[in-house]
């Protein structure tokens, strides 16, 4: 038992690596703060284009985009963008490569969620708002979007958690976020405590969010919605 504790939960190692892991965590948080808004804005733009256009072609093109990027494993996209672009003479820094690849795929997911939210608002709402004299943009901004966002909030949060977890892929590009810092500490100290600690940090950060979504979903179920 003592041996297991010394191996996986070694306090001396934990204290030694904690500053390094916390700076890794800071990098993780910065990456998430960059990537989540980019994906959300991209997804909102796509969802608005999809729901507001009269052109079938635009809708088909957006559907193709969404399904295409939903079919790509995130890691494949990250590796492709960062390792294939240098062959055509474009050197992207890891942050930019990561941001581009995440933006491509997360905007597809956010688009799906927001589109479902927008189309679920009855057309009568828009017609009523327009008949009060609001412009199409005002109607979207003050009537449709606030309700749509509220209705799909659990899905939006769930997707954002997935993206936060996805920032761990940055370790593959050698960016010193939380997972990468833990891995380097583990290989220097020959002890897996940093990995356990990193997992515990992810858990401490995301567990409340996961719980919140579950509670939100079951309260909506109880209301029959």
């Amino acid at each position: 038992m003592q041996e297991i504790l010394d191996t996986f939960f070694n306090p001396a190692v934990a204290v030694q690596v904690l500053p390094m892991l916390l700076s890794g965590l800071w990098m993780t948080v910065k990456l998430a703060a960059l990537i989540i808004p980019l994906g959300l804005l991209g997804g909102l733009a796509l969802a608005l284009a999809h729901t507001q256009t009269r052109s079938r072609k635009v809708r088909i093109a957006i559907n193709l985009y969404v399904d295409f990027f939903r079919s790509f494993p995130q890691l494949v996209l990250v590796i492709f963008v960062s390792f294939a672009t240098p062959f055509i003479g474009i050197e992207l820094s890891p942050v930019v490569a990561l941001a581009i690849s995440f933006m491509l795929s997360t905007s597809a997911y956010y688009c799906e969620i927001l589109r479902a939210g927008i189309t679920a608002i009855p057309a009568g709402q828009t017609e009523a708002a327009r008949s009060t004299g609001m412009s199409a943009t005002q109607t979207l901004r003050h009537v449709v979007l606030p309700q749509a966002f509220r209705n799909v909030l659990p899905d939006l949060l769930g997707n954002s958690i997935e993206i936060f977890k996805g920032t761990s892929l940055a370790s593959v590009l050698g960016m010193s976020e939380l997972l990468y810092s833990a891995q380097s500490a583990q290989s220097v100290l020959f002890n897996p405590t940093p990995l356990v600690l990193a997992a515990a940090i992810y858990l401490a950060l995301l567990w409340p969010a996961v719980r919140f979504i579950s509670a939100l979903e079951s309260s909506r179920r109880a209301q029959g919605g």
Binding site: D67, F68, R70, L203
Partner: protein
Amino acid sequence: MSQAADSGLIHTFFNADIVRQTSPMVMEAVGQTIAIGVLVIVAGILLGTALATWRFHTQSRVLRALIVGYVDVLRAMPPLVILILVYFALPYVNISIGSVLATFLCLSVILSAFIEECVWSGIMTLPKGQMEAARSTGMSWWQSMRHVILPQALRLSLPQITNRCIAAIKNTALGSVIGFAEILGSAQAASSDYANPTPLTLCAILYIGLIYPLVLASRYLEHRAGIR
């Protein structure tokens, strides 16, 4: 100029010679990815459904809390972190498992957590009267579960289950990080051997070919669920 640039791009990203030379290796990896993907889905659905059934059956609050805890922990941790933890930390206590087995175990367990959540929410959506009516016909609890509750719960949550299974197949690519030569891993190896990105392009095309039909199927299921 533009034609020269085009043929240059194709020469770089989809070089026919390199496709010929590396495709046997990458195609073998497709088999590995499909095999692991199918095993993970079967194990994840079975375990997840069993956990949801257990959570519904048990009267013990402790057991219920344990199942919810299991689900929450696995939903809150990044799959790559779990995979690296299992693969690099267990050898310190002299348990070493291969990269294929580690990928299978981690992804199955993660999928089971998400499936539990889907099936549970399906069970909760059903009216309580369903179980009572089934029991009053003389069926046992297990018979009612098997013939009445679970078939409906699984059908209700089918779109979400499909999406989680797609995510599980996509996550097999994480195996490349611990040295599992699935599609991405073998494509990366081939790409650095030949100093050319063609195997990566091939890898991207293969994933699209594998997963795009599943995405379309899930879209169809969501559409059908929306109509009902």
